[in-house]
Structures are given as C-alpha cells and as structure tokens.
C-alpha cells in the first residue's frame, strides 16, 4: 500500500507460494473461502499444492510460534464470471476466528456504495518507499462515483468496477496488494465492497483507484460457497 500506515484488517489474508513468499492479498468471506483476483494466478486450473493462506498476523514474515498465526493450505480455485477477474479459493480447513482473524460481510446484491463513503484498503505489498513493507499497511479512501471517475479515465470504468478518490500525495494499492479488500464500514460492520486489481501505475498522485465491485458478484460468490 502506498501512502498507508500500519494497521489492522482481520479479514485480509496473505497468499503464499510454495516457498512461503507472500505474492497477493485476499479477503476471508467465510471460514473456508477467500476471495482474490485472477491476476494473481496463472490459470483457473493451477495446481495449488504447496500454496497457503496466512492470517492472524500483522507481519509479512512473522516468526514461527507467533500466537494467533494461522497458515492454511489452499485446495481449490474457482474463477468468477469472465469480466469479474475474481477467484474464490477454498481453504483446506476452516480458519479459526478470533480478534485477529474474522470474516468480512458481503454487500447486498448489486448495491452501489454512496459517493463519499469512507473505505479502506489493506495489504503487505509495495509501499514505494512510503512505509514499512514488513507489516500490514492500511489506507483510508473515500468512494468516488463511477460518473466522476469516468471523467478521469475517459469512460473506461465499467459498471462492475468502482473507484475511490484521488490523493495529491499519492495513495493506493500496489504490487502484491492485489486481490485484497476495499472494505467499507456500515454501522458497526465492515463490508467487502471492492477487490483490489492491478492498475498500470500504483499510488500515483491525483489518480483515482479502481476496484472490482463485489456487489455485482455476490450471487456468484454465494453460489460457489453453496455448491
């Protein structure tokens, strides 16, 4: 996260490759399922042997024996509708929820987050020299309507995407944050409204951030979990 600060996001998980290296983020939408983005994987049929989801820590490379740390193998990948760029990843065993690990709410189907709602992104990705990459960073950002966002991106933002406002200082998700959450608070609950996807530049001053709008795919997410 460029321009963020160390923080806490108990639904954000770190996806790890066979060597245990963090490569992408994800969000716990239930004790057994993580949502992330397809760009983090080479295909919808990738062999996930050795891949894990790590949660319950604020550190990118925690020491063994850290209390609350959970490492759970990934067993299944399901690709979302073609234009969604989403994937659902099944955990081998259910995550144990506690004060450091919890699931995030899904939004109502096809819900549009009001303009100006304060949301936050979280991840262990690049900071471009603007933070500590060894810990989880969080940045707050207000929602920007698609209409206004399209003025910047010349009409390329689609209905299944959503934006957050630009910052002159440059704040946004970056390499290895992809797949992580854009979480927005709704009274005392946090709701997964967006999934971080790669952009051409990250944390670029004056550039809005684009996310996949989760509410468009809530029916698919529930269907995958049910089936």
């Amino acid at each position: 996260i460029v321009g963020g600060t160390p923080g806490n996001s108990p639904w954000t998980v770190s996806l790890r490759d066979r060597k245990g290296n963090h490569f992408c983020g994800g969000s716990l939408v239930s004790s057994e399922w993580v949502i992330s983005t397809k760009q983090c994987f080479s295909s919808c049929y990738v062999d996930l042997t050795g891949y894990t989801a790590m949660m319950g820590t604020l550190f990118r490379d925690p020491k063994e024996g850290e209390p609350d740390l959970q490492r759970i193998s990934l067993t299944k990948i399901v690709c979302g509708p073609s234009e969604s760029h989403l994937v659902m990843l099944q955990l081998e065993t259910p995550a144990q929820f506690n004060e450091r690990v919890s699931q995030i709410c899904l939004p109502p189907e096809r819900y549009i987050v009001p303009d100006g709602t304060i949301c936050e992104i979280a991840g262990w990705g690049e900071t471009k020299g603007k933070g500590d990459e060894t810990v989880l960073n969080v940045a707050q950002m207000p929602v920007l309507s698609n209409k206004d966002c399209n003025q910047y991106f010349k009409g390329r933002v689609r209905e299944n995407e959503m934006c957050t406002m630009a910052f002159q200082a440059g704040v946004g998700a970056c390499e290895r944050d992809y797949g992580g959450p854009l979480a927005c608070q709704n009274s005392d609950c946090w709701v997964l409204e967006g999934v971080i996807i790669p952009m051409r530049r990250c944390g670029h001053a004056g550039q809005p951030n684009i996310f996949i709008r989760v509410s468009v795919y809530v029916d698919w997410i529930k269907k995958v979990m049910e089936m």
Binding site: T49, V78, P81, E99, Q103, W220
Partner: protein, 462 residues
Amino acid sequence: YRSALNDFQRSEGRELVLKSWNVNRLTELPRVTLEDCAKRCTESPECRAFNYEFRPSLVCKHLPWVGDGDNADVKRNVNCDLYEMKVYVRKCIVGKGEDYRGKVSTTTSGRTCQQWWSKFPHDHRWTPSATNGLELNYCRNPDGDRIGPWCYTTDPERRYESCNIPQCKDEVCITCNGEDYRGQVDHTISGKECQRWDQQFPHQHIYQPEKYPDKSLDDNYCRNPDASPVPWCYTTDPTMERESCDISKCPEFPKRRLRSSYTTNCFRGRGEDYRGKVNETTSGIPCQRWDAQKPHEHPFFPKTYECKGLEENYCRNPDGSEAPWCFTSLPEMRTALCLQIKRCADDIEAEDCYNEIGKNYRGVVRKTRKGILCQKWSINTPHKTKINPKTHPEANLTDNYCRNPDGDHHGPWCYTSDPKTEFDYCAIKQCAGEKVPIIGPTTEVEFNECGKREDRLRSRLR
C-alpha cells in the same frame, strides 16, 4: 556417489503421525543432516520411514511404519518432509523383487497366503527374522525365485504360488514420448541407478524440482522434463551423465488423439496443442517438413513424437518452446518461431447469445466458456445436482444444455463434466444491446456475525 536418500520416497510438507498405541516406537535424532538421517534409517532394522522436521529446529524422527493407515497416518505439516522406504510403499518390483516389502497377501489365482511363521497347511523351512521381511502372510521372495514374490497358500491343494506383483517398468506404461510418465522406475536401461532430481551430485543439472513443478521431478524416478524421445534420468555413475529408462509403451495407443484442448486458428499457452496449418515463419519463410532431414538434420521424427502433430511442414511446438515453430527451408536459418499465429482469447468463442440474464435461453450450447462439456442435469455424476429437472421443472433442464434455472445474473451455466469444476458459465454471450442495470437493494440489510473488528488493536500496535 550413491545417496542413502535413493532408498526413500519423499512427500513434501507431510508428516507421519503414529497411532496412539505405538507412539513410543519413535526415535528422535536432533540436528543430523538429511543424508545422515536417511543413512541411519537404512542401517536400523526397525526404521521404515522418517520425518525430517526443519522448523522450529532440525529433528530427524525415525519411524517403524509407513503411512498406510494401519499404524500411522500421513498429515500435512509445512515444517516437515516425510521420507518412506520405497520397498515398503511401492506396488511394483524391480528385478525378481527380493526386496519387496509391500502388503499384497493373495496369489495370482486369488488364494490367501499362509502366515510365514505357520507350518500349516504347508510345512516349510523359512523362519521370520528382523531382517528377512517374512512378515504376516505377505508375498515375499526370500529365495530369489524367478517367479517374483510368492507365498505358501492356505489351500492344502496348492503349496505355493506367485503373487504376480507387476514389474515397475510395466506397472505404468507410457504414451507418446512419456512426458506424462509419473511411475516409479528408478534405474536406466543399462541398470544404472538414477540420481535424485533434488541433488546436484554426481551430476550438476538445471532440473531442480521446485523450478519445474509441473514435471513431477520426484525422488530419483525416470521422467521426461525436456521432451526427449523417452523418460530418462541422471545416473549415480559419475562416468555417465544421463541415460534413457526402459519403460513399456502402452498398447494400441491411438496415434491421433482428439483432444478438446487442440486449437487450429490460434494457440494457447506455449502452443503445444496447436494443430493448425500455418506452415511458414513470422517473416514468411516456408517451413521444412518434419519428416525431412534437409536442409536441417533434427531429432524430431514424427514417428518418435507421435503425439506432437508433426505433420507436413506445419508450425508446431514439440519441445516446450515459447510458441509454435519450425525448421526453416533456408540452410542458413535453422529454426524460427511462427508468431503470426495469434494467441487465443482466454475464453472460447461464444456460440450463441442470450437475452437479459438468459433465464429463457433454450438453445443447444452444451459447453462451458473453457470448452468443457456440460454434465446432464438429470444425472448426479460427476457432480451431485442440487438444481435438476425435479427441483426446477419449469426451467427446461433437458440433456446437458446450458440453462439458467436459478436466475444467475451472469448468464446460463451448467454443471461440468470435469470432476474438479462443479459448475461454470457457458460459451454464450449476451445478445448485442442487452444490459442489465445495477439497481441498489430495496430493503435495509442487517449484518450479523461478519465484519466485526476490535479497533483496540490499532492503538496497541502503535
């Protein structure tokens, strides 16, 4: 140069956990090297497997069983690798199978074996010991009989019989040039033992297993990671770097397999499944025929590589290069890529279109967007159908046609014939001009269990 690890089969990220009644039969050796751990295990008559733990500290744990579920279970543990003696886990034999320690206990004709300690119904001279492997009534070959592992039978009319344990070289046969071979042959055609792929001695090599996860470079088994004519391995003989392995070819393998992954107008991945008719290079130079050796001599004989589609002079990728290529007809230019062939779009081409969300789609497309055939709605294999003609009689769930019985906003779908993919969307697109607007929810939504956060942690972190 032989490694003691050659006697073991490695399971990465696994641990063998003994069942409660024999946990005290575990021997712990702290801070020994992996090689030493293996060596000491082979020297111990009690040891059949070992856990090699590398976190939080190095520990070698010798175990008296392998993970067959009777006395111990294999569990996942990212901090540990499990090594089991090959002779106890493999289901095939090498040579006459004198070292076979498997658990088959019936003969070729189906007769149950007599216990080795018993002299009834057949009296005999063999006495079980700690080293000769004459355990229970398992098939063994203590006398090196040419019939392979055998046993005395419990049938008084039949004294002894072979158990017909297959030779490892015949147990799994190879198709094409054996790139998919995942069997357990670990000796070359001349009888040399293979070097482990995860070791760099006696021969240094590039095929480190972690760098080629799709090639299954397991232990020291024969494999074909470089599209050679047959599986091969580096040998433990310092004077011979590598040699082919003697593995049976599968009988009556159809030369031209019709695979759904073959493409003709574009290529996917590295284009190994491209079977189109482009026969010139990117810059327009005609390709040399694959069955010719002029102007360029080459090893890609169509008969050797029967599954690679080396027909005429078409661009192909028989060796895992980055894209289809060919030998050119110019003597001064040996090979060139055919990059004018386009890469396929990720999804297969839509074959029909649907209106709105496709709830009324009644077409005959029966393929998912990845080209996988749909499962019939009325049967329960490979997937148990929660939605079927009985639950949704109005949805026209006939045969295996794509439908949208549950009003999925993302269009018609089906259960798939791939056991690993329960359902997927179909190769159908929305008809032109159709668009379903996004409308917010009409009722307030209450969230219960999810999305709660203890924000105290933030101040604690500071």
